[in-house]
């Protein structure tokens, strides 16, 4: 893509555009727009952005227990004695944020950093699964909740974890799945409707 930016554009702008285009979901056009936006903004805002990027790289690291991103080691959640003896397994650090926002879960987490995806070459050894198995052996949690996405990759990961963890004598569960709040029944797919029916509860 560098050739698209080579003519009549100052080299620092080309470099910035190329760096921005490395970010997920940012294509060459968006990268170019962002680069020019940064160029037009005042110096203080640009410096604040650059410093925030450096700070996040310098001060945030991965918790050696749950593999969430943290400023302290071990992370706040892992070092909190009031947390319940359950481990909620999620794909990404952002899933921890989403679950903490619910205030419904009081246990600990384990971040896999992805899900099994054969077409992307992601196999269990590329995820934090071996560390989870070791953790279950040493911590003996009451339950492991596999909260991976409810798509094929998430389900494949859940099936794999179930097979690996059940022999260790721990209860392995999967979250209930069904219809999103506020949705119309007629637009739901048959798998969602089927799961919603299977997991129904008495009033």
């Amino acid at each position: 893509m560098s050739s698209n930016y080579g003519s009549g554009v100052a080299q620092p702008v080309v470099t910035l555009t190329q760096e921005l285009a490395k970010l997920p979901g940012i294509g060459p056009k968006t990268a170019s727009r962002l680069a020019y936006h940064i160029l037009k903004t005042n110096r203080e805002d640009a410096v604040a952005l650059a410093e925030a990027i450096i700070e996040v790289k310098d001060r945030v690291s991965m918790c050696p227990i749950c593999f969430n991103m943290t400023e302290q080691v071990p992370c706040e959640i892992c070092s909190d004695p009031r947390r319940e003896r359950t481990i909620c397994v999620v794909q990404d650090p952002l899933d921890v944020v989403a679950l903490e926002r619910t205030h419904e879960y009081r246990g600990k987490y384990h971040v896999l950093h992805g899900a099994i995806s054969p077409v992307d070459g992601i196999t269990p050894d590329k995820l934090r699964i071996a560390e989870l198995i070791e953790r279950v052996k040493t911590e003996s949690p009451d339950e492991v909740i596999v909260f991976t996405n409810l798509d094929l990759n998430g389900d494949a990961t859940a099936v794999y974890l179930h097979r690996q963890l059940t022999p260790l004598g721990v209860n392995v569960s999967r979250p209930a799945s069904g219809l999103p709040v506020g949705s119309d029944l007629e637009y739901a797919d048959e798998m969602t409707l089927g799961r919603a029916l299977t997991g129904r509860r008495i009033f």
Partner: protein, 256 residues
């Protein structure tokens, strides 16, 4: 390439997908009339998206598409058939992933292949219905290679053109067929095949799945057949196939 209206509908199977932007998904779909297409499904990753649940890998759907500047835009998606077993059977999911990856890497963009679409959809249905995954995959490899013009030569030596006789011969992926013992050295990478493995491959090529379903190859013969077809598929694809590596790593490539 077949000309298309600005808005059109087609059956499609999702053969690759990736997240894009906040909640969009870029998909590669395989269609009977337009071949392989790159499409974008806006908002597909949102929980309340109507089409999102149908646009996972291997999904067989009816798509309403609009011609976009760079990518076709999904206006709506409705399911043709779901494959529920892929959600709770890792082996079937990995085999299905291999089939769609093979179609993605071997076919070319916007080249229609109705027969390949039918082969892919039928094979996914068979996998979902619980038919021996190893057998379905071997049949798929052979039928796909035949259909796309890479039919392996299993009856005459690809070195000297003599008729192949009932003895151990070697399969050359580079030359696309069997080598008799006299020509064996033409390809040092050629894979030795027992007589039964050769018979299985010939029957698979000539008569298809129903015919080979009667056969019960030994584990050694299965390994030979699998190695010959996988090596050839990799050679034709001219690249490493990630889902094939996953199948081997997870030890799910053999029939259980």
């Amino acid at each position: 390439m077949i000309s298309r209206d600005r808005n059109y509908s087609t059956e499609a199977i999702v053969i690759d997908r990736r997240a894009y932007g906040e909640a969009d998904r870029i998909l590669i779909v395989f269609t009977p009339n337009y071949g392989r297409l790159d499409v974008i499904a806006k908002g597909a990753s949102k929980a309340k998206s109507r089409s999102g649940p149908y646009l996972d890998l291997c999904s067989w759907v009816n798509l309403e598409l609009a011609t976009g500047r760079d990518l076709e835009v999904v206006r709506s998606a409705t399911p043709v058939r779901a494959f529920p077993s892929f959600h709770d059977d890792l082996q079937r999911f990995c085999h299905a992933s291999y089939l769609v990856e093979l179609v993605k890497v071997i076919t070319h963009a916007e080249e229609p292949h109705k027969a390949v679409f039918e082969l892919l959809s039928r094979s996914l249905v068979l996998l979902d219905e619980g038919v021996d995954a190893w057998m379905v995959t071997r049949h798929f490899e052979m039928a796909l290679l035949n259909e796309l013009g890479y039919r392996p030569q299993l009856f005459r030596c690809v070195g000297c053109d003599d008729e192949i006789t009932a003895q151990v011969n070697a399969y050359s992926a580079m030359l696309g067929g069997l080598l008799c013992p006299a020509c064996r050295d033409l390809d040092p990478q050629a894979i030795p095949l027992s007589v039964n493995a050769q018979k299985y491959l010939r029957l698979l090529q000539r008569e298809g799945l129903t015919a080979v379903a009667r056969l019960k190859p030994t584990l050694t013969e299965r390994a030979e057949i699998q190695q010959a077809l996988e090596t050839y598929a990799r050679f034709v694809a001219d690249r490493d196939l990630r889902s094939l590596r996953a199948l081997h790593e997870l030890n799910l490539d053999v029939s259980t």
